[in-house]
Symmetry: C2
Subunit: 308 residues, 2 copies
């Protein structure tokens, strides 16, 4: 049995699952991020205990705890100042939880974990090389190469939201201009349409509101062009798009596919596959379980040295 | 000893090298591509014989022949209609050369082979993840992930020249609009500057010609923004730029680095490394030797099954 922990800025979602990824029980608690790392760690402990109790499974039956955490992970499990976890300056959450539970703990960036979850349990079951994108308040991504998480040379790969799509375009939260996130995230779509949020844009668009439809097409143009271009570069099996904004469904996916196809080379166009994520709000916790099962640096090392 | 063959549209460059990549002798013959595959294969045979004679090494001492060929390679060694080899519709060059020489033959796309050559013998000796770009008549690329060639799901990865940089931009040879190649290749730079070729643009720019300097900065802007963005996505050790246009040196690299830095996330900016290729005109033949030594699908399989 495995425990997966989706550590978010507002909620901690924890689940117990078996080796097939079947969830036995799950529990959601408030992160209370503003109260600092100590309180958050206490809340993680509480969520694990609550989940085990709900599942009626003793801790002794758990072989691994997976944590999906925001921001880059240094080394094996050190979280480094993610914007939505104030006060977290190099917290070695792996060590802390290993000490607390005396279990193997694997930690992974949440977008990477989500990419692996889609590969193992979601839309990418038969894929070898896959790009996962999440579009919500921001735009994040995770890359799977050869059915493993690709972390890059410094552990920060996957930042598709900060690929430039418009030179001298609008300012992005990262400080640069014209990032994909600055023109196609939920808030960017809402701003362009003059609405409060992406859901309001979707509702107006469904009623035929021209400006809302334009705002969605504008975002889809940039998303589609980016993923089509990335597919020319990486020649992937598929691109999986999740996150709150992706819940728009065909309203967003149709123009994304149109624009992506426009910039795909003819030889890659026939393979181009852009699909919605299958795992919805539980993609984070499924990612945390997925890294327990496979793809963590630990796991890879163990597999190599043959001690598993 | 190894033989490397750089099969180009106009020349075939063949070399004999030892296991450290040290070239013993090399020979260049005309491809005579217009006379069809049969004649080209004959010329390859002749170039191999000439090279062995020049090196004074018998064929019996050769353990592997590597071929770097244009266009995508299907399966283990089938060349599929590259634009500069007319009449080549699915030629299994691996089988043909294996029959001819009774040696192991490995075939690789030329840009992929060049990327591996830069990794093994050139600018990327200590890199793990590397992007190689060649800028000349066209713009091509090869990706190294984990010190191996990354071919993608259908064997066509690396086409950075066909990433879109300008929606509805100028028409590209590939049929699409606004590809990097359409705005930053040698001919594109020349067209923008009103010159015959990129070399003429370079010469004028060195004399202070404004339009030529602008043309170079324009290309550098698109190249820099693309590689900076790709580095946000792939978090590479380095980006190596070769090809005839890259011979401009700092005239091109300085603005490329400036623009790349502009769109790099602050966390990736400090790692961003854009360097000129070290191997010049012999990068192709060194690539063909590199794939003999490592990175060919064959080699990987052999290494795995332990029969080497």
């Amino acid at each position: 049995m495995f425990i997966g922990i989706d550590l978010g800025g507002t909620k901690i979602l924890t689940a117990v699952a078996d080796k097939n990824g079947k969830v036995i029980a799950s529990v959601k608690v408030d992160t209370q991020a503003k109260l600092g790392p100590k309180r958050v760690i206490d809340n993680i402990k509480r969520s694990v205990m609550l989940t085990l109790a709900k599942a009626n499974i003793p801790l002794s039956r758990i072989s691994c705890i997976g944590v999906g955490a925001p921001g880059p992970i240094i080394g094996k499990g050190t979280i480094v100042s993610p914007p939505n976890l104030p006060g977290w300056k190099k917290v070695d959450i792996k060590k802390l939880l290993e000490k607390m539970f005396r279990k193997r703990v694997v930690v992974e960036n949440d977008a990477n974990a989500a990419a692996l979850a889609e590969l193992m349990f979601g839309a990418g079951k038969h894929a070898k090389n896959l790009l996962y994108i999440t579009i919500s308040t921001g735009i994040g991504g995770g890359i799977i190469i050869n059915r493993r998480i690709y972390r890059g040379s410094y552990g920060i790969a996957g930042e598709i939201g900060h690929m430039n799509v418009l030179i001298d375009g609008p300012r992005c939260k990262c400080g640069n201009r014209g990032c994909l996130e600055a023109v196609a995230s939920g808030p960017s779509i809402a701003r362009f349409a003059g609405k409060n949020d992406a859901l309001a844009v979707e509702n107006s668009a469904r009623k035929g509101d021209k400006r809302s439809l334009e705002a969605i097409d504008q975002a889809a143009k940039h998303i589609g062009t980016t993923v089509g271009s990335v597919n020319n570069l990486l020649d992937l099996d598929m691109i999986v798009i999740g996150g709150g904004v992706a819940n728009m469904g065909d309203l967003l996916f149709k123009p994304i596919r149109k624009w992506a196809s426009k910039c795909a080379m003819s030889i890659t166009r026939k393979h181009l596959k852009i699909v919605p994520a299958k795992l919805k709000t539980n993609v984070g916790v499924m990612g945390a379980i997925a890294i327990c099962l496979k793809g963590s640096p630990d796991e890879a090392r163990r597999a190599k040295s043959g001690d598993e």
